[in-house]
Amino acid sequence: MTRNRLRAVLQWTLGVWLVLVILAAFFYAPAAAGFKGESARIVFFHVPQAWVAVLAFCVNLVASLRYLRTRNPIDDARAAAAARLGLVFSVLATVTGSLFANVMWNSFWNWDPREVSIVILLLIYAAYFALREAIPDEERRGSLSAAYAVLAFVTMPFLVFVVPRIYWSLHPDTIIGATGKLKLQMESRMLQVLLGSLVGFTGLFSWLYTLEVRLARARLARRGREEA
C-alpha cells in the first residue's frame, strides 16, 4: 500500500469513527442523572477538547526542546502547529464549557478554577503567538518562542493539578483523585463513548497536526529552491 493510500484509509477511518462517536453520544449513551435534561452529553466533546488542548501543549514542548537542540526549522514549524491547534481546542473547550455552565447554573461564566485554568492556557498560547509576531528574524523567532514555550510549560502542572485543589470547583472531581488513585465513576456506556471520543479527538488532532507540518515542510522546500 502506498503512503498516500494509507493516509486516505486512515482519514476515512477517522471520519467514520468521529461520526460514530457523535451518534453514540446522542443515541447510545444514556442521559446522566443529576444534570438538567440532556446537557451532560456535552462531556463527550468538552472533555476531549480540553484533553487535546493539553496534549497540544505537550507536543509544543517536545518540538520546542527539539528545536533548541537541532535548530531545524521544521521543529519550529511543528511547535507552532501544535500551539495553533492547542489554541483552537482551548477556545472550543472554553465555549462548550461555558454553554454547559449556562444550562446548568444559568451563567455562562462562574470563575470556576478549571474555567480559569483553561483561559490561562489560552492566554499562554496567545502570548506565544504575540511573541512570534514580534520577531522578524526566523532563527531568533524559533529559539525565543521555544524558550518561552518551555518556560510556560512549567506552569501547566500547577494550573491543572494545584490551582483546582486550592479553590472549591463546580467541576466533578478529577479522574486521578487527590490520593493519586484512578477513579472512574461513570455508567459503562457513557465511559465507552467518552473513551471513544478521546481516541477520535486525538486522531483528529494528529491528522490536523500532520497536515500543518506537511504544509510547513512544503513551504520550507519551496523557499529552499527559490534561494538556491
Partner: protein, 229 residues
C-alpha cells in the same frame, strides 16, 4: 576556582546594575511611584471601611498582590531592555558568562522587589486597615514570592529584549505565567492575615516554592540560548 569566578562575575553584574540604577533611578522611580499611585487610588476609592467584613480577607489580600505585581511589571523588564537600547548587550556578552549575567540581573530584580515590598506593604496595611496576625508567615511568603516573581520576570525580560515592541510584550508574556503564582500568594496572604502561626501559610508556601524553584531551574537552563541567540 571556577565557582568563585562565577560568583565574582555575578556580583560584578549586580554591582553594575546597582550603580547604573542609583545613577538614573529609572526602575526605582517607576516601580515605587506606580505602586504608590495605585495604592493611593485604591485606598481613596475603597479604603478600610467600604468592604464588607466577610469580604475583607479575600479582597484585601487580592488587592495587595494586584498592586505589588503591576507595580513590579513597570520596572522589572528594564534589566535587559536597557542593554539592547543602549547597545551594551554585546559588550556584556563578552565580559561575563551567561549564567553570571542571569544571576546578576535576577539578584537586581530581587532587590528591586524587596524594596517595593518594604515600601508598599506597611503603607497598604496602614491605609487599608489590614491587620496581619502572622507577620513572620507573611514575610516568608513575600520573600519566596519575590524569588519566584524575579525568576519569571528576569527570564521574560531577556526574551522580550530581543523582540520588537518589547515593553508591551512584557506584560502580555508575564501575566499568564505568574497567574498561578499570584493565586497561591493571595491564598497564603489571606492565611497569614488570619492566623499568627507560620503553619497557616505552609500549603501556599509549598506551591510558591515549587513553582518558583522549577521556574528558576528552567530559566538557568534556557538563559544561554536566549542570551547568545
Amino acid at each position: 576556582m571556577r565557582a568563585s569566578t562565577l560568583l565574582s562575575e555575578s556580583l560584578a553584574v549586580l554591582g553594575k546594575e546597582l550603580t547604573a540604577e542609583l545613577r538614573s533611578r529609572v526602575a526605582l522611580n517607576a516601580v515605587g511611584l506606580f505602586g504608590l499611585t495605585t495604592l493611593v487610588a485604591v485606598a481613596y476609592q475603597i479604603g478600610p471601611y467600604r468592604i464588607q467584613e466577610q469580604d475583607r480577607p479575600h479582597l484585601l489580600a487580592a488587592l495587595l498582590w494586584v498592586i505589588l505585581f503591576f507595580a513590579a511589571t513597570s520596572g522589572l523588564s528594564r534589566v535587559f531592555v536597557k542593554e539592547e537600547d543602549a547597545h551594551t548587550a554585546k559588550t556584556l556578552r563578552l565580559a561575563a558568562r551567561p549564567l553570571a549575567v542571569f544571576a546578576g540581573k535576577f539578584l537586581f530584580n530581587l532587590i528591586l522587589l524587596a524594596a517595593l515590598y518594604a515600601f508598599i506593604v506597611p503603607l497598604y496595611c496602614a491605609l487599608m486597615g489590614y491587620p496581619v496576625q502572622g507577620v513572620p508567615g507573611l514575610v516568608l511568603l513575600l520573600a519566596c514570592g519575590a524569588v519566584a516573581l524575579s525568576a519569571t520576570t528576569t527570564m521574560v525580560a531577556a526574551i522580550i529584549s530581543r523582540a520588537s515592541g518589547s515593553t508591551a510584550l512584557f506584560a502580555i508574556l508575564t501575566v499568564p505565567l505568574v497567574l498561578p503564582l499570584l493565586v497561591m500568594l493571595i491564598q497564603g496572604t489571606r492565611a497569614a492575615a488570619g492566623s499568627a502561626a507560620v503553619a497557616a501559610v505552609v500549603p501556599a508556601l509549598q506551591g510558591v516554592v515549587s513553582l518558583g524553584g522549577a521556574t528558576l531551574v528552567i530559566s538557568v537552563y534556557l538563559f544561554p540560548v536566549v542570551w547568545h541567540d
